[in-house]
Point group: C2
Amino acid sequence: MTATAKTAKPKPSSRKRLVDAARELFWLHGYEATAVAEILERAKVNAGSLYYYFKTKEELLLAVLENYIELLEPEVLRPAFEATADPLERIFAILLGYRVLLTMTECRQGCPIGNLALEMSEKSEPVRELIARNFENWRLAVRRCLIDAGPRLPGDVDRDKLATFILTVMEGSVMLARASRSLDAYDAAVAMLRDYIARLTERAARPIDGALRPADAQESERTNREETEP
Amino acid sequence: MTATAKTAKPKPSSRKRLVDAARELFWLHGYEATAVAEILERAKVNAGSLYYYFKTKEELLLAVLENYIELLEPEVLRPAFEATADPLERIFAILLGYRVLLTMTECRQGCPIGNLALEMSEKSEPVRELIARNFENWRLAVRRCLIDAGPRLPGDVDRDKLATFILTVMEGSVMLARASRSLDAYDAAVAMLRDYIARLTERAARPIDGALRPADAQESERTNREETEP
DNA sequence: GTCTATAAGACGATAGAC
DNA sequence: GTCTATCGTCTTATAGAC
């Protein structure tokens, strides 16, 4: 059993420790507010090693953003997809993951990509592009769920745009939850989103029979409450 | 005609110049990335004067956030409300204002409160509270429009939560537009929001007659296109 | 690849004259 | 209220030994 064996868990390489430490600190305090010295301290690495692997602090950020792309599947999608096999419910399981994150941090920490998007999009074009790729990654996963829902959604609903809308609601509601230190805005937004999607699927199921609409609406609202106030 | 006459437009006071310069630079580059020296240069004020009015850089940020509360009515709401008297259309006129902002800056600049919310919410409690008050101000204006729409919205639609949802969509879509340097995400989100509100008003207008639904849906989609791709 | 020491400058904030 | 000069501190990044 050598130090490089996959089953053994020795100290990760300096490079990996740097990316992990930087990822966490950029998430906690932002890019500008994180000093290189803090990253070195947390990673237990010396300055010389950091600048051996990365030419600048910004290059380290690029490595962090690449890392987030790799982490989407195992850290966000897989846990959510294991919760349910229903494609539409999988979307809400992803959203629930961010709710758990907000709960665990008392609404202090949200989506790390959203933070960096607003702070860094104007400062570096390579950074902006990687952020856009992160969003696109997330959006395509949601779009996959919408496509898998098949005829439950009316054929004239644009899966691509609906996926964008869902990402929009997620990022916006996490922002408001952090600013207000409350889950209210998050829950209100997800409940509305659920109601909207319920109305869309409802229309696909009964395109000409609308006599039962008021009852349907009440049911969809009850469903929201179950989701957002567990 | 003295220098203090309201009709005259002499150089604004140093304090006002500082708040104006800081507001613009915090919006362009964020709080941490803006040096006090830059603010002084833009405001044509010396360091001594800044620290005569404000104890710290953070206190200047608080003044900027107070200023944004004052600017909501004349800079955001009034122009949008002059465009139309229809309460629901007024909401989309507000959203159009942010679209104009994105267009003018090639998707480089968005909502200044959203930027500061993600950057500063964890760093200073007074700052976070003022950011939350800014969002609440905006949200109450939208809620007012929803209430003014009266019976066009079904009685069981929670105006409060719908207003939160609209703010959520606005902030999220501006974030994605900036990250992707494209209005596509913004337009997709606003189109979906318009479709959702159209479905809600439709239900209020004809609570039991649903035979015309497919035609209604087509019409609401055409309306979206007019709004989001002018 | 890793270490220590330090360069070179930007940073927020202050002192004290006017 | 405004001015200039400057204080410590913190910053990113580098040099050069091991």
